[in-house]
Symmetry: C4
Subunit: 194 residues, 4 copies
């Protein structure tokens, strides 16, 4: 079975998620600077989530690029990932509207954690379908980023009980880790372009 | 006429439906555990609908895969299916926000029933266009799932007058029936990959 | 320049329009039959608009199928059509929520009228680019439906001052006119499949 | 790496942005002419933003047409552009709902300015990847429109302190500048169709 429709459907869902978050930026009914001030935390949480969805789209794009065929289990592993990603607008809005209070910040971390686990399950499923000698397996390698991220999310969730800004710092840190260009799959494809 | 744009349009509509449901998860204006508690039924009904839309996308994907051409009647049969699926976010939100009250639970069942009938009409139309010897006809076979589902939905709608949780259990049961991998079309394509 | 991205973008916009209309179906906060009663006019106007957007998607699909290339003017003629179609959710919601009052019913007719004119301009532009001997010109023929529809919309807009149900009847009539399968382009393509 | 998914994702996001703006057109709860009067500034700001997003889609379409491959940096430059464009519905709604007050009009200009800068960065990145002899570089040429637009936006932002209509006139002027057909890339492709 082809991967075209899987990519098209995922692109559609990710495009909607990334754009729908802006709907949480409620239009203020007055035109004062105070209105803008109240928007700042919502805006910042929107930027962070935009970067996260961008990272997922980017990595998803690369991973599917190294894939030859998809089966039913892959479709469901992909839908499972999209489910957790579709909670981003909700978690983002809740966190931003409550000015980074502890509980919404922890909830945001849970959504990040579940999305990371879902991504890892999808990757595992694809590697299982393509074999340990596949381009994908070599591209992923030891996958230290994929292993470190859930641990950092867990740490951040714990930190919210103590200091919410430490948790936010960890969320930003993980985003930066992934923003550093990841040339693994591009390189593996270059060595084995078949 | 090609099936590419039909697939692209359906993917677009399904991607929007599955993502728009999350908008029914209204961001609570406080940051307490109580706020989360009130969200639970909304969240659970969202998960159920997400799985249902996922099943429809999956099956639609498989069915169109076995199809060679589409005509005007097929386009309208497909739009009819999309119409009932587009009512999922509304039915889901109404059911979740009223904590699975009898009337919204029955309404949810009606939407499930109409979507199942619309899917069956689309399948019938495609088989009629491709002939009884087609890959699609052999793949669908006796279609016991497609025949049992509307009956189970009808039973659930009736049960809402008596016990709403029995109805919910039936909705979950039908979803599980379809989640069990359905290799019919994949197998039929393997035997006749032309 | 290829027509693929024009089709993809139009499909995206139409998919969003058709799905977003359901957001006008506000989830009622109670679970009674009275809540359902109030929804009926909104639901009926949603069904009518769903059919109209379906007709536009169908015809757009057929028209683009007979097209070879697109230029800048075509892109803008297409965007102009999408602009008027994007007002459907608004006009639909306003009409449904006010139980088919005269002014919103007339406004709905104006949006229908402008969309019909925009479609006619796009068709004219495409025929101009492909020549009077093109498949598209022969497929469109005398285009009596395209010429009658704006007149019927105008009549309906006038009728709202007298009887709003007469106007609604005209809207339904035009939709039925277009729902009758239009095999012109399919036939023209069959005679000249080059 | 192919550019297909980049185009598909961008088309998806742009289609959602252009359609979501209509959600800012809140359905009035009465059916009087007064309701329509209040809508006029919202409607006019919607038209302006629709034209702007249309221009961006058009130019993006042309630019990607002249591109052969994309890398990770291009993906992020593209996401950066989409980020600023995704703020259009918010900025449009804020400006329209406050009847073109000074602060929201200036904020609208800032979003236009940032989007223009993001577009310029994407263009620069693509030219850097394709070389100074590329079709794209010749197509862009001296790019006086791309250079003049940010200056005009800056002027408009300054003018809001003095006269908000002068700023609006500049926004309309820049849109008209870009609406004049830009045949540069089409011509460059014709001379060098390889």
């Amino acid at each position: 079975m082809g991967k075209t429709r899987l990519e098209a459907f995922s692109d559609g869902v990710l495009a909607i998620i990334i754009t729908i978050m802006v709907l949480e930026l409620k239009v203020p009914h007055d035109a004062t600077w105070a209105a803008r001030g109240k928007l700042l935390p919502v805006f910042l949480s929107y930027v962070l989530s935009f970067v996260y969805v961008g990272i997922y789209w980017n990595n998803h794009h690369h991973m599917l690029h190294a894939v030859r065929q998809v089966d039913g289990a892959t479709l469901w592993a992909n839908l499972h990932l999209l489910f957790w990603l579709s909670l981003f607008p909700f978690a983002t809005g809740w966190m931003g509207e409550n000015h980074f209070a502890a509980l919404p910040t922890a909830a945001y971390g849970v959504v990040l954690l579940m999305a990371a686990i879902a991504y890892w399950l999808l990757q595992k499923r694809l590697i299982a379908a393509h074999g340990p000698e596949s381009v994908l397996q070599r591209a992923v390698g030891r996958d230290w980023k994929g292993k470190a991220s859930p641990l950092l999310y867990l740490a951040a969730i714990g930190l919210t009980a103590w200091n919410v800004w430490a948790a936010q710092a960890l969320y930003v840190l993980v985003a930066l880790l992934w923003l550093i260009p990841d040339r693994r799959i591009e390189q593996a494809l270059q060595h084995d372009p078949a």
